[in-house]
Amino acid sequence: MAIVYQKTKGLTDAETHYCPGCTHGIIHKLVAESLEELGVLEKTVGIAPVGCSVFAYDYFNCDMLEAAHGRAPAVATGVKRVLPDHVVFTYQGDGDLAAIGTAEIVHAAMRGEKITTIFVNNAIYGMTGGQMAPTTLVGQRATTAPLGRDRNHAGSPIRMAEILATLDGAAYIERVTVISPSHIMKAKRAIKKAFELQMEGRGFTMIEVLSSCPTNWGLTPVNALNWLNENMIPVFPLGVFKDVTKEEV
């Protein structure tokens, strides 16, 4: 019998602290598998955010830095400018990237910083206990929006992929999800392509991954994926928002 699937060497043997069924774990795998398959783990430097994935530095089997909340793109810029031949990625949640870190991600994209950002959008602040994120859906409850997000008070969800796609420095921006094996395979292709374009020096690349937070959504892991499918995807449509390779003739 031949092994058709096993844990990637891109991950360490550490057990993750993620809640049961949290799709952060799936996304970790995809990043790690991509790096392994591209053969670049040894020259990769990753940046962990502040959020549930704060401990990602213990999970990815490559050099890692833990950045201040929201500042991963700036840290990645520092690393990449010193090590232009290395692969540099950030892994960030929606609070990290789309709230406190808005300026840093917009400007990394504007500069065409040659990094890859994995943006895990779970429409909530997982780590701190379910507060409203900028991506929280209108009507969705959160511990700081106990009656549900009110459009008139707190606005509507921010769509980062769409925003960053307006910038010339962005080479590749795609939104994917991991709610089924086929979505997972598609997400993996997107992530791998982003790394490839980074290695070609094409510019800033970001994959936004719609992810679940069963704990703070108050759903079972399986129901959380259904909820994501039914509620999040309509607001955050999947697809490619920017692809420099398609702009060429």
């Binding site: 020259k43 050099d63 201040a68 500042r71 810029t77 520092g78 690393v79 400018r81």
Partner: protein
Amino acid sequence: MAKELWKGNEAIAEAAIRAGCRCYFGYPITPQSEIPEYMSLHMPEAGGVFLQSESEIAAINMVYGASGAGARVMTSSSSPGISLKQEGISYMCGAELPGVIVNVMRGGPGLGTIQPAQGDYYQATRGGGNGDYRLIVFAPANIQEVVDLMQEAFELADKYRMPVMMLLDGMIGQMMEPVEWKRPALSPEDLPAKPWATTGTKGERRPNIINSLFINPDACNDHNRHLEEKYQRVIENEQRYEINDADEAEVLFVAYGTPARLARAAARLLGEEGIKAGVFRPITVWPYPYEALHEAASKESVRAVVTVEMSTGQMVDDVRIGVNGIKPVSFVGQAGGVIPTPREVADAARKALGR
């Protein structure tokens, strides 16, 4: 070597490049914008990285990244911009990352004014960020000293794996003085390797991690103990100060940076009236030379200690701690960009002596 006339800010930038710094991230702000401006032209010439960041916060976090990746790296700003870097500085200390941070101070609080001041002493020496940490803080008083200390700043940063701050006032940044480049310029290849840096495992070692999170309180406490021991070593080995004309001095001025020069001018004025005055000038304001100050204040001749600052009185806390009650300590200063005059300083001394 021949002397050259340099503007303070440009000398700082050039000195950093000569100290092997090949990475600069910063954001414009008066009165230090000549530093990024100089870097924007000369850093690429030296084969290094200059990047104007979108903010001071981004700059300090780029420094974090570049330092993690093993580079000698610097940022600079002025007072409000340094305030914004406090979280990042705390992170660098927590993660034990070297780096040099230049603060060319202006008057505050808030937007204040762009004229020279020393209102950020507390922030620099006590840590304006969260948690227990320290920076080595150099407070040179003229451009030659700035230049001489720059290489040392980078060396100590690397040695102790901690950020070092150059604490200047706007005057030093804006003025010109002759400079002699005493030490040979370093190139990055000359520098010791940093085996802890996140430069890719190259398949030769286990992953390196740069991190300030210690979720378990015991681990976090241990880490704090470890940092404390390091700081203790710095306290033991890295205090710098200068004493001038202290023989039989009745009054001892204590001042750093520009006010130390004013204090010396005041001492001359007093000398003309037959009052002997000495000047104790800390060159590191952290670690603070408490014992040396205590000793200087202990001299029998000294009847009063007068602290001179371009602030409403911040270093005076350290002077009080150092003097520890053996002599009366008083304060004279101006804030908000006004520079105290030697006459005002001399008056304060006379008053302290009861004359």
